[in-house]
């Protein structure tokens, strides 16, 4: 044991005394002396003989929920002789904030995961360079929110209310068909939502109610929801796994603000094969909010050429078809097939709410007023 301690002591002293290992550049290769264990994916590119020397490194900054298949990313790496490094930087808000803070010396070449509620913030901060990808023409206009193509849409998801099928059938209760229904006495104490100040689905659902009832009408609606026993928690993890009846947490509320695809995910990630998803989602007009996620090339990148290629790759069919079951979102490219599990167990939103034009100037005051009405 002493020996181990001594070994660690020496290693740590070395690390302290020489802050600068041989590898240079912003994305220095992992120092092998650190004895850390990188994931096997790091090793893969060396197995492929690169067509022209060392692979270049593309750094993609993203939020914690980003996911993709090894094979798909490898396909891009192989054909372009590139190693893609992903840097995860917290949830969507935190990640964007970090990208804005570092815009003078960007730590990445591109950023994926700014959504439509934060988009204008990102554009105003000027963190993105325009790139008119050849694939942008094939994407429906409803997703293209930046006409200068600084931020390009990649995927969308609907924030909708999920419900536990068993609870509703057992109690002979009809599934609510509108926001109005939720304030009826038969649904008392049945809904859990997220705080819009700390959670992105929480903000999305608040925006859906603002679109429906206007400002300040939404506040009266929320007061009625409060009187009807709505439960507010800090974030999605708590709402879904602690409070929601239809998850493994088996909590007390049979309805939760989540995503339209969560019932499909419940089906896919079941330990024992199921005949049907235990949950469903409400998709009635005006009850959902559509989140669109964007990718952009960070201003000042030295790898603009590969960054462009990766943007194209993200918009193309292979990545678009890989994305749904990794991140539980819908592809924006109409050529990409939506997996069967989505069509069987999730209902896409009908006439979902979208981002209001004055969101950026109103966001804080809406949340503050909501806070006063619901939490005090």
């Amino acid at each position: 044991m002493k020996r181990l301690l001594f070994g660690l002591l020496i290693t740590s002293m070395l690390l302290v005394s020489c802050g600068s290992p041989a590898g240079s550049g912003p994305a220095a290769a992992p120092n092998t002396a650190l004895q850390l264990t990188p994931l096997p994916t790091d090793v893969v590119p060396t197995a492929v003989t690169p067509p022209s020397g060392e692979p270049r490194i593309l750094t993609v900054m993203t939020h914690d929920s980003f996911a993709a298949s090894v094979g798909v990313i490898q396909e891009f790496e192989k054909s372009n002789n590139v190693k893609v490094n992903f840097v995860k930087s917290g949830d969507a808000g935190a990640a964007l904030n970090k990208a804005i803070l570092t815009k003078d010396a960007p730590i990445a070449d591109m950023f994926y995961g700014v959504d439509n509620t934060f988009l204008s913030r990102a554009l105003d901060a000027g963190i993105f360079e325009s790139y008119a990808s050849p694939l942008i023409d094939s994407i429906p206009d409803e997703f293209k929110l930046d006409l200068k193509n600084r931020a390009l849409p990649v995927d969308y998801g609907d924030v909708c209310i999920n419900y536990s099928k068993a609870y509703f059938s057992k109690n002979g209760l009809a599934v609510p068909a509108s926001l109005d229904d939720l304030i009826k006495p038969e649904y008392k104490d049945l809904l859990v939502v997220e705080n819009p100040a700390t959670s992105s689905p929480g903000l999305a659902f608040l925006l859906a109610t603002i679109q429906k009832y206007g400002d300040p009408g939404y506040l009266d609606y929320w007061k009625a929801l409060k009187a009807n026993g709505v439960v507010v928690v800090d974030g999605w993890e708590t709402a879904y796994y602690t409070n929601f009846t239809g998850s493994s947490g088996a909590g007390p509320q049979p309805m939760v603000v989540s995503y339209s695809t969560s019932p499909a995910a419940e089906f896919a990630y079941s330990k024992t094969p199921l005949n049907d998803s235990p949950d469903g989602n409400i998709n009635a007009p005006g009850t959902c909010f559509r989140q669109i996620e964007f990718v952009g090339i960070l201003a000042g990148t030295k790898n603009r050429d590969i960054a462009e290629k990766f943007v194209d790759f993200m918009l193309d069919v292979t990545f678009q078809e890989d994305m749904p079951t990794n991140m539980w979102v819908y592809p924006v490219n109409p050529k990409a097939a939506v997996p069967e599990i989505f069509t069987s167990y999730s209902q896409p939103a009908i006439q979902p709410a979208t981002v209001p034009a004055n969101l950026d100037e109103k966001r804080d005051s809406w949340i503050e007023a909501w806070n006063q009405a619901v939490l005090h």
Binding site: P26, F86, A197, V232, S247, S258, A265, S270
Partner: protein, 565 residues
């Protein structure tokens, strides 16, 4: 400041360079960028809101600290004075909560006290109720109980160590001269324990004061501390000026508490000849003692073990299909979630193999232990006999504990995103930044634990050795070291747990290619589905095991020359 000679500055060299580079510099940079006092005019409500939040933060922190002392002191006494079967394991178990991610602790409490928890379900079945009678989640009590659950270990270890090596002859002498046990407690025991009680209270208070996960998850959105508000302003509203102002308020408060502590601690410290801890420990013999020890063990099990037990239980229990109807689901035991941890189901790029996550976590934790001990030791030694310089530096050392981790994290991003000074090395992209950041948090802990122990060594012991002709290093080796080695072990265990449990998302960048156990837990919990939930619980159980075994190993170290203290 007066000119200080080199000898006095020397012990401070390494810790101050370290803290300047990895704490003060990034903090100054982010505050300089964000601070904007014209902000007051722009939002008139800011001041009154901040005062309200500040009031609640003080209130919950003071109340939590008090309760932690009420729970921790008897337990410190128990561990210091009695020998009983299972003592080692129970002592380790009290430290495990300290590093568990809040999501996981919340799940544990929920399994026990939630609307569908065991207690409520049992109560409902017994009294034929159709609604859960006990409301726990979302109350101030939940916040307080979670704080006590998290932080009791600080009191148990800091005060317990001092108590264990206190010479019982003083009390015995007083008793034989007719003092009542109460007089002994108030007149001898407590005064002698004051330095350690104060150090523990300060640490606990600062942890509660900057509390964030517990408030959000267990208290719910009706409660906000300064740190919660900083998080909302900085990362959700993207309002840096507000976040910076709040961070400054929090820093000033921390500095205030630490300054008061530093002034007071010198006056209450009395150095008394210590005694080997093992000599003070007995097996409970009298009937009263047995009753006391048994009672305390039962309390320990209920308060610490049951919420922890909920996780391993959930990680092996299967719960499927008809989830609305819990009463009819047969819960069967399964190890599938553990098996599933080793499978990369849909070929995910961010799949985390459990062994690698455990190895990375352990590696970061070891570096943190070694670095914080190396840096903390000289500083603690100097602080134990404070001169003018130390009185100035002392409050500053506690700042890393009171600084907002969100603000500091943004400061790191802003500072280390480019090569530092003349080197070519960018810290931000290096995995080494993680243990360095952990060390800034662990350092105040290590310094406080060691300082409390060092201050108790009577100077006569050193003087006697010196008169007899022992050189400085020999005095240190044969006088100081044996007495403080126990505190060194404790300090190391704290640094270890701090590093193991820290989840970098709020403060740093997560590097998916160097996953740790907490990041793996969060990865599972961020997606819906029974398998994800089960695997998160399985991973949390592994984290608990790794942490428990790590502490057990550290605490069973016999440092050379440590004797029995």
């Amino acid at each position: 400041m007066p000119i200080v000679n080199f000898r006095k500055v020397l012990p401070w060299l390494a810790p101050s360079i370290f803290l300047s580079l990895f704490f003060f510099y990034p903090l100054t940079r982010i505050l300089a960028l964000g601070l904007d006092f014209s902000f007051f005019q722009k939002s008139p409500h800011f001041l009154s809101q901040t005062l309200e939040i500040l009031r609640f933060t003080f209130y919950e922190a003071a109340l939590s600290t008090l309760l932690t002392l009420v729970v921790g002191l008897p337990l410190a006494h128990l561990f210091a004075h009695y020998d009983f079967p299972g003592k080692k394991v129970l002592r380790v178990l009290t430290a495990v909560p300290f590093m568990l991610p809040t999501v996981v602790v919340a799940a544990g409490f929920n399994a026990l006290l939630g609307p569908r928890g065991w207690i409520n379900l049992g109560w409902m079945a017994f009294f034929q109720l159709d609604r859960a009678p006990l409301v726990f989640i979302g109350t101030l009590s939940a916040i307080l109980i979670a704080h006590v659950f998290y932080n009791s270990t600080i009191v148990i270890r800091l005060v317990g160590n001092a108590w264990a090596s206190m010479d019982p002859h003083l009390g015995d002498a007083a008793l034989s001269m007719g003092a009542s046990p109460r007089q002994v407690l108030m007149g001898i025991t407590l005064p002698l324990l004051r330095p350690s009680i104060f150090a523990a209270s300060l640490l606990v208070f600062l942890f509660d004061f900057t509390s964030y996960g517990v408030i959000l998850l267990l208290g719910g959105p009706r409660f906000a501390t300064i740190e919660v508000e900083i998080y909302i302003q900085a990362l959700q509203m993207l309002n840096l000026p507000a976040a910076s102002l709040l961070s400054l308020v929090q820093l000033i408060c921390t500095l205030g508490f630490s300054a008061i502590y530093a002034r007071y601690i010198v006056r209450v410290t009395a150095a008394i000849k210590p005694r080997a801890a093992s000599l003070n420990q007995t097996r409970p013999r009298l009937k009263g003692q047995k009753l006391y020890v048994t009672g305390m063990i039962i309390f320990l099990v209920i308060f610490f073990v049951l919420p922890l037990l909920a996780l391993p239980l959930r990680s092996v229990s299967q719960l499927e299909a008809n989830r609305a109807d819990l009463s009819q689901v047969k819960q069967t035991v399964t190890f599938d979630y553990y098996r599933e941890l080793f499978v990369n189901r849909n070929d995910s790029l961010f799949y985390v193999p459990p062994f690698q996550a455990a190895r990375n976590s352990l590696f970061y934790a070891s570096i943190t232990v070694i670095l914080s001990l190396l840096l903390g030791f000289p500083a603690a030694a100097a602080l134990a006999r404070p001169g003018k310089l130390e009185k100035w530096l002392d409050p500053l050392l506690m700042l890393p504990l009171g600084a907002s981790s969100v603000t500091l994290g943004l400061g790191y991003i802003l500072t280390f995103n480019r090569p530092l000074f003349f080197s070519q090395f960018t810290f931000l992209t290096s995995p080494m930044l993680v243990p360095l950041a952990h060390t800034t948090i662990a350092l105040p802990f290590v310094i406080r634990s060691l300082q409390a122990a060092l201050a108790q060594i009577p100077s006569q012991l050193r003087e006697a050795a010196s008169v007899l002709g022992a050189p400085r290093w020999k005095i240190w080796l044969y006088v100081d070291w044996p007495i403080i080695s126990r505190a060194v072990i404790s300090a190391g265990a704290f640094a270890f747990t701090i590093s193991l449990g820290e989840f970098g998302a709020a403060s740093l960048l997560t590097r998916p290619d160097y996953p740790t156990l907490p990041t793996a837990i969060y990865r599972f919990l961020s997606q819906p589905g029974g398998l994800n939930y089960g695997q998160a619980m399985a991973m949390a159980t592994i984290l608990m095991l790794v942490c428990g075994l790590g502490i057990l190993l550290i605490e069973s170290f016999r440092l050379p020359g440590s004797g029995d203290f």
